[in-house]
């Protein structure tokens, strides 16, 4: 055992409750967090896929949400109805069932995809619906006088949407979008059910081969918490960069 590892193990042993602990009526369990450390590469790979899937779903989902929100605000009646139905169906059914439907329907449509792509598609479809609803609220918060003014200046509907409505709307609802994104990132643990090998799936297979479920789940939970806090910080930075500092210059 390398000296650094031995020192770390010594530290772990020194903390009461990690080495050997008695619960209730003489039940003993010896924690072995070094098993987790032995598999850090696999765990990091799983976490990296979670991060990639979530980030991609954020970007593509936001694009989808923007198009849908525009269609809902200014599109023809039929299109509005379709968008409204899409939003309501996604918001009132579980993500897990959406994943199953997308995973099984893509091959039926003749699109051969792996589990990762199906997971990404499900996340995009899910985030797109929530994003549409959140953006709609932001768009409604833009004073109507601004839109009238833009139209009076000769901007087309699309130009008005892009330059006058979207930016302030995004600024208003940015915190809500960020929260929804964190929820999506956490919910992505569910895609392990279709065998996409993100953090949860990696954790599952490791705990079943090492018989150390508590340690692995505990560590993975901590990793998710760290990723949630990390994403929150990054999104906070983006908000500051784009909407606070960007406005001034």
């Amino acid at each position: 055992m390398p000296p650094a590892r031995r020192a770390a193990q010594g530290l772990i042993d020194a903390v009461p409750g990690t080495a050997k602990r008695t619960f209730g009526s003489g039940v003993h369990y010896v924690f072995h967090f070094n098993v987790v450390w032995d598999h850090w590469r696999d765990l990091a790979g799983g976490a990296w896929l979670t991060i990639r899937l979530s980030s991609l779903a954020l970007v593509i989902g936001m694009a989808l949400a923007t198009v849908c929100a525009y269609a809902k605000a200014a599109g023809p009646g039929a299109l509005r109805l379709i968008v409204a139905a899409y939003v309501e169906v996604i918001r009132n059914t579980p993500f897990l069932v959406q994943i199953f439907i997308i995973y099984f329907s893509l091959p039926a449509l003749g699109i051969a995809v792996g589990a990762n792509e199906a997971a990404l598609a499900a996340m995009v479809v899910n985030f797109g619906a929530y994003g549409t609803e959140i953006l709609r609220a932001g768009i409604e918060s833009v004073p109507h006088g601004q839109i009238d003014a833009a139209r009076a200046l000769g901007l087309t509907r699309l130009q008005t949407f892009r330059h006058v409505v979207l930016f302030p709307a995004l600024k208003t609802v940015f915190p809500a979008l960020a929260s929804q994104f964190i929820l999506l990132m956490l919910a992505s643990s569910v895609v392990s059910a279709i065998s996409a090998v993100e953090l949860t799936a990696v954790t599952n297979s490791l705990q079943s081969t090492t018989f150390r479920p508590f340690e692995f789940y505990f560590f993975a939970t901590a990793l998710y918490l760290a990723m949630a806090l990390g994403f929150r910080a990054v999104l906070g930075g983006i908000y500051w960069r784009v909407f606070v500092r960007g406005r001034r210059s």
């Binding site: 169906v89 918001r91 508590f214």
Partner: protein, 223 residues
Amino acid sequence: MNRSFALPEFIYLLAALRWTLLLSLVAFLGGGVVGFVVAILRTTDSRILRLLTTGYIQLFQGTPVLMQLFLFYYGLAVLYDMQVDAWPAVALAFTLYAGAFLGEIWRGSIQAIPPTQWEASACLSLGYIDQLRFVILPQAMRISIPPTVGFLVQLVKSTSIAAIIGFVELTRAGQLIVNVTFQPMVVYPIVAALYFAVCWPLSQLSRSLERRIDADLGVKRHL
């Protein structure tokens, strides 16, 4: 010869729906008690209590429900070296999950009451408990109803995750039916439709309550 999806299979799904509803109800009631305590503690003057309850909310809102479920189901099992039944593990995990979200919603509702209400009731020489009971909570409760109903939708949907550890509710029942019929494109949309039938009315209720309360507050503002 495969079985195909017919009336008996549909009735099986309907029967499984009651476990989804029961689990949601248990989690909502248990989470309601936890959430109430958390909301009150988060608005007290005690720093340590605020810190503890904030930590609890951060922990449960910042980690996936699935992980919480695994920890309670498999983690506790090895810790105590015994088989944990699915029901208590799932009920406990979803209770704590609901408690974190409801606590946060209700804290917001309590803090939305203007401080002048606290001050006015203090001037009437009401104690802390009486201030809460007669002045703050009745008003906070009104504001909190729409988001609480909205969270109920989220809770019903998230109980589907219990399917992953083998707890037989609607989604798991759907998986079982798919295993015998090999008709995922029939079964899963029906499962989704059943969830929709439960969640959509709740969503609409939440929305209309919100509109009504906004209208009431609007009237008050104009007085």
